[in-house]
């Protein structure tokens, strides 16, 4: 068990939830992961397609009423321990959508958030900084 913990601390898998985002932050997340210039895989991270494989969850978007139940169900499927990162100002505070009848922001009313990366959208380096912070928390949780 100790060996598995030591190994998995070096390779947290990322999972991305779009909670009604405008796609700006998702483009920045794709930029961070997919183009060699920013290359999040240097930190040992890898995007995965299934919530059951995830270690670090990146949430974008203000949690619209329409996706709320789906996001909460998806979040419940991610095994513990997990680290949650809110990317962009929408999940953190609601941003420009705060006060709208169509959003449930801020997201920390429903999901425990560990790291916030503000910006609209944040630049890829800022996301990398947030992911690095999340990895430190992830190492403590293991």
């Amino acid at each position: 068990m100790n060996l598995i913990s030591r190994i998995s601390a070096r390779s947290p898998w990322l999972y991305r939830i779009n909670a009604g985002s405008c796609n700006g932050c998702d483009v920045e997340l794709a930029t961070t992961a997919c183009i060699p210039r920013y290359d999040v895989e240097r930190l040992g991270c890898k995007y995965c397609g299934s919530p059951r494989h995830a270690d670090i969850v990146l949430i974008t978007g203000p949690l619209t009423v329409r996706v709320k139940d789906k996001v909460l169900r998806l979040y419940g499927e991610i095994p513990d321990p997990k680290v949650t990162v809110a990317v962009g100002i929408c999940p953190i505070s609601g941003g420009v959508f705060r006060g709208s009848y169509a959003v449930c922001a801020p997201i920390d009313q429903y999901i425990p958030i560990d790291v916030n990366v503000p910006g609209c959208p944040p630049r890829p380096q800022a996301i990398l900084e947030g992911v690095a912070m999340a990895i430190e928390i992830w190492k403590e949780r293991l």
């Binding site: 210039r37 930190l43 505070s93 705060r98 503000p118 944040p122 900084e129 928390i137």
Partner: protein, 166 residues
């Protein structure tokens, strides 16, 4: 054998990956990051509060004066506040290191207060805002600005009119 050229070029040029977070990264000079508020230059017109798209800026009347609050977790870094500010009392820096743990969520604020004073001429209560440029017929010296700051708006206009007439 065309690949040899590419190989040698890449060996000489080195990796194109940005070294961050293990090294320094490139920050454009015009990048809009953390907002800075300068109470000494603020004329309290509250245009920034009016134009803020994210509703991040708030002015409150407190016993000490007029308090400015900006929450970076609601700011879109659009720069409208700095664009509409008549005196550069609010500016955007190029500091983008804003990622923070949840415990610091409500500490990501920029704060400043314009103090309430008693007018040096008439004794009425007023805000010590920066004097408008129209009060002077020449570029004011720092001493003149400080003197004008100690007056209420009505006395400012009176003093300015007297000086322009003489």
């Amino acid at each position: 054998m065309g690949f040899l050229g590419v190989l040698i070029r890449n060996l000489v040029a080195g990796p194109s990956t940005d070294p961050f977070p293990f090294g320094e990264t490139f920050t454009p000079a015009t990048l809009r990051g953390r907002v800075e508020y300068h109470p000494a230059d603020c004329v309290a017109c509250r245009a920034c509060e009016q134009v803020c798209v994210g509703g991040a800026i708030r002015f409150d009347k407190t016993p000490e004066g007029l308090r400015f609050l900006l929450w970076h977790d609601s700011c879109t870094f659009c720069g409208l506040c700095a664009f509409y500010c008549p005196t550069e009392g609010i500016t955007l820096t190029d500091d983008w290191h804003l990622a923070h743990p949840q415990s610091r969520k409500f500490a990501m604020v920029e704060e400043g207060t314009i103090p309430t004073i008693r007018c040096a001429a008439c004794g009425a209560q007023a805000l010590a805002t920066a004097p408008a440029a129209a009060l002077f017929d020449h570029p004011p010296t720092p001493a003149e600005v400080e003197e004008m700051r100690s007056y209420c708006p009505r006395c400012r206009r009176k003093v300015a009119a007297e000086r322009k007439a003489s």
